[in-house]
Amino acid sequence: MNGYVSALFDPSMPFVRNALIAGLLSSILFGALGAVVTVKRIAGLAGAISHAVLGGIGMALFLSATGVVPGLPPIVGAFVFAVIAAGIIGFVSLKAKQREDTVINAVWAIGMSVGVLFIAKTPGYADPMSYLFGNILLVSAKDLAMLAILDAAVVLLAWRFYPQIEASAFDEEFARVRGVPTDAIFMATLAVTAIAVVLLQTFVGLVMVIAMLTLPSGTAGFVSRNLAGMMVGGAVMSAAFTVTGLAASWALDMPAGAVVVVVAGAVFLAASAVAAIGARTRRRKAGETGPRRPA
């Protein structure tokens, strides 16, 4: 731990500091967006978008390495695929609900497979693992700036449209009757998720984005009194998991992203177990003291 703290302040190791700042900045995103993804139960949709992004990354690597589009950065391919995936999933979810599951799985699988195929045919060596699990030590100052801008946008949207987001997540039909543009809110949520996945794929990794969008806010959900509390709680949890995970990975010399997710997952499972036991105890107490039905 001491080694991690001194590395943070070591001017010759800016990447350690950048990793921590990236972790803290993404915590804001994971808190605000993660709470919405969790209560709207669209983690599966977000998962499909994030995995489909590998297709775009693979295609960009291929086009760049073969000289078809020299210097095409992977993030451009990622962005194109994220938008296409979010568009398809959003359309099917709103217009053809009965096919939703199948289409989500198809987008998920095709996106990943296309990525693996392109990477296999790309001259030189590219490792799909580094995109799936990311490398938080690769964060640049430019990445941090983009992440801060996305944070600001997400916080502003969540603040400005909080009652509409809350109502459409709680009871979409009622929200529509009250004149809330629920479809637009849904599409905006998917779009922001897609952008977040693209920005975070380099350092958090595609698999971890989904873990961090659901685990911290899911944990916060056990103790929050409302959606805003869940957003703030999720951000705080996410920051705590990130700092703990980064320090532990430094001390144990293990991949940072994976350690962060293991910490988040373990705390979430423990919290779920405590909540389940607590609910059972409450029910039992109520059963003992509550009115008995006549035989």
Binding site: V39, E166, V180
Partner: protein
């Protein structure tokens, strides 16, 4: 469009030869009925008869394939702000952290406005009182029983200070105590707002009911028919939140029966 009838009572809901189909499936065929302002009406019919379709049409969540619908003198979409809607259950995630008063406050939501005003807070406390759930205001919604939740959803609808209150299967899976409280609430509202209760119980309705409309009795092309009711003394009061009326399915009242024959087709 029809002119207002030559009676002193206003029409709250009017379906004018309304038809609706899901693709090839014809759900409503030439439905023609009206409900007066201040009336307590019941829309009954077995499951799958088209009650939900009638609801969606009058809330403006679906559009008819032909015919006209007028709600409070306006097209359904424009009348929404004056409609209090109580769904059968909120399609919510049981892990959604929210308090009862926050649920009720949703009834004050207007389009994309962010702020709630002082008047909104007053309407929320009034609605909590009216629906008899004031003592639950600060409780988490997820900890309530099914019957309590339904009454909270009634409070949410009342928070809009609606001219028309629409309740979808309000008593399904409700305990007798909650049902009694709900009908006391509805009884106190009767006359101040138009109330439409949708239920799959086709045999009996609450004695508060002024008019009964039955959906889905004309074979493939379904319509909405007005039936006669008579007091049902042999039915236990607690089953219908108070005294009940028996629906006489072999009767069909003419569409203009409520207006002394003056309501023209």
């Amino acid at each position: 469009m029809h002119d207002e009838p030559a009676t002193d009572t206003k029409i709250a809901i009017r379906f004018d030869d309304v038809s609706f189909s899901y693709g090839e499936l014809r759900v409503l065929d030439g439905a023609h009925f009206h409900i007066h302002a201040g009336e307590f009406a019941a829309l009954i019919g077995p499951n799958g008869a088209g009650k939900t379709t009638v609801l969606k049409l009058l809330l403006g969540l679906a559009s008819p394939s032909s015919g006209t619908i007028t709600v409070l003198g306006l097209p359904p979409k424009n009348a929404r702000q004056s409609i209090g809607y109580v769904p059968q259950h909120a399609s919510y995630d049981p892990a959604f952290p929210i308090s009862v008063s926050e649920v009720v406050r949703m009834g004050r939501l207007r389009g994309s406005t962010r702020r709630y005003a002082r008047t909104d807070a007053d309407a929320v406390s009034k609605a909590l009182e009216l629906a008899d759930v004031a003592e639950l205001a600060s409780r988490p919604y997820s900890e309530l029983s099914g019957g309590q939740r339904r009454r909270v959803l009634v409070a949410r609808a009342l928070a809009a200070e609606p001219e028309l209150l629409v309740l979808d299967e309000p008593t399904a899976n409700m305990d007798a105590e909650s049902e009694g409280r709900l009908f006391r609430t509805l009884g106190s509202l009767k006359g101040h707002a138009t109330i439409l209760v949708v239920t799959h119980d086709t045999g009996f309705v609450s004695a508060l009911t002024d008019a009964v409309f039955c959906v889905g009795e004309r074979g493939a092309g379904r319509s909405v028919i007005r039936h006669k009711v008579e007091p049902a003394d042999h039915v236990a009061n607690e089953l219908y939140g108070g005294p009940a009326l028996q629906v006489l399915h072999d009767t069909e009242l003419p569409e203009n029966s409520c207006c002394g024959g003056k309501e023209e087709r």
